[in-house]
Symmetry: C2
Subunit: 169 residues, 2 copies
DNA sequence: AGATATTACGTGACAAGTCATATAATATCT
DNA sequence: AGATATTATATGACTTGTCACGTAATATCT
């Protein structure tokens, strides 16, 4: 706690250096930078949005899927896909049909225009991934992903559980 | 590339497992989970939003700052703070005054109601950070932060530079 | 067979980020 | 002293996430 009444550049710099080690503080900027960079790469590869790219890539690699399947692979809420897909259908990128066996489900499939858009963006995005592998070794990525797994497990613990453990101590 | 015409659960599972090792794919969900969990913690600690909490914490630790200072510490665009602060002033959390020496700058200072809101949220958020230290050792956090630093450096490289390096090869 | 529970998707509402642009104030240059 | 360049903030517009809720279809139970 400070009783400082005037702006103090040294304190500002110290605060920033300290927050560099706060994982919670680091994520917003890194995530935003990743998204912005991804969007810029896609601008060079045909102009797809991040969600469009991700979805076409998934459909291209896996084949037809439900909205729930896409949400599961992308670790996102189904509403994100539910909202994006009608526009993608309008652009001719995908087809959407109700599943004959289960009327609740929608089967999404890549369409020729989507395949073309995928073909245009894929080399650019592959270059991005290759460039990252010049910065991190395969072993380092494995360790990094291990940290992310553990961090995500922590983030998904119920808040009440985390707060209750303190009371038990 | 697949020519699959039917939904295939094994392919879906394989795709998801593979994307687990794609750092770009991992970030959106982890960032969103961090934010949602942070909001839930704050609900237990007085109801501040994430941006409000971060800002009050910074002002409490450092003292008066400009909007640019806050944006620098939080590694965020100045517009995020510029937008949040008038509401925080309206709630009595902060005061805002033009700098006498430089009329372009706004000096933001924590106010009594902000200090009270900070005091209520701080123990809850401290518990969150303490709980994370039970999951990661200090050494592991240092390595993790090193990876994040390198990743962020990569993410901030101009796209043209990354794409040009391929051409040079 | 009918009632109840569960699941899949669509939509409302919102938070939190960014980039771009405009305005005002200051710094620098000639 | 005046012109030009730079900087700080405010605002427009947008993207991408989530949670909550409603509707429709299916699964399960009695």
């Amino acid at each position: 706690m400070t009783t400082a009444t005037e702006r103090d550049e040294a304190r500002i710099a110290a605060r920033q250096a300290r927050e560099d080690y706060n994982l919670f503080s680091r994520l917003p900027a890194i995530y935003a930078a990743s998204r912005m960079q991804g969007q810029q790469f896609l601008q060079h590869g045909g102009g797809l949005s991040i969600v469009e790219w991700r979805t076409l890539w998934d459909l291209h690699e896996v084949g037809p899927m439900t909205i729930r399947d896409l949400a599961t692979i992308q670790r996102a809420d189904h509403s994100l896909l539910s909202r994006a897909l009608p526009d993608m259908r309008r652009k001719g990128y995908v087809t959407m049909r109700r599943d004959e066996g289960d009327g609740r489900q929608t089967i999404v499939e890549i369409a020729p225009a989507g395949r073309a858009a995928y073909d245009r963006a894929a080399p650019v995005m592959a270059r991005r991934r290759a460039a990252l592998r010049e910065v991190f070794s395969e072993e380092e990525i494995a360790v990094f992903v291990g940290f992310l797994d553990r961090f995500e497990d922590f983030l998904r613990r119920p808040v009440e559980q985390v707060l209750k453990e303190e009371t038990a101590k």
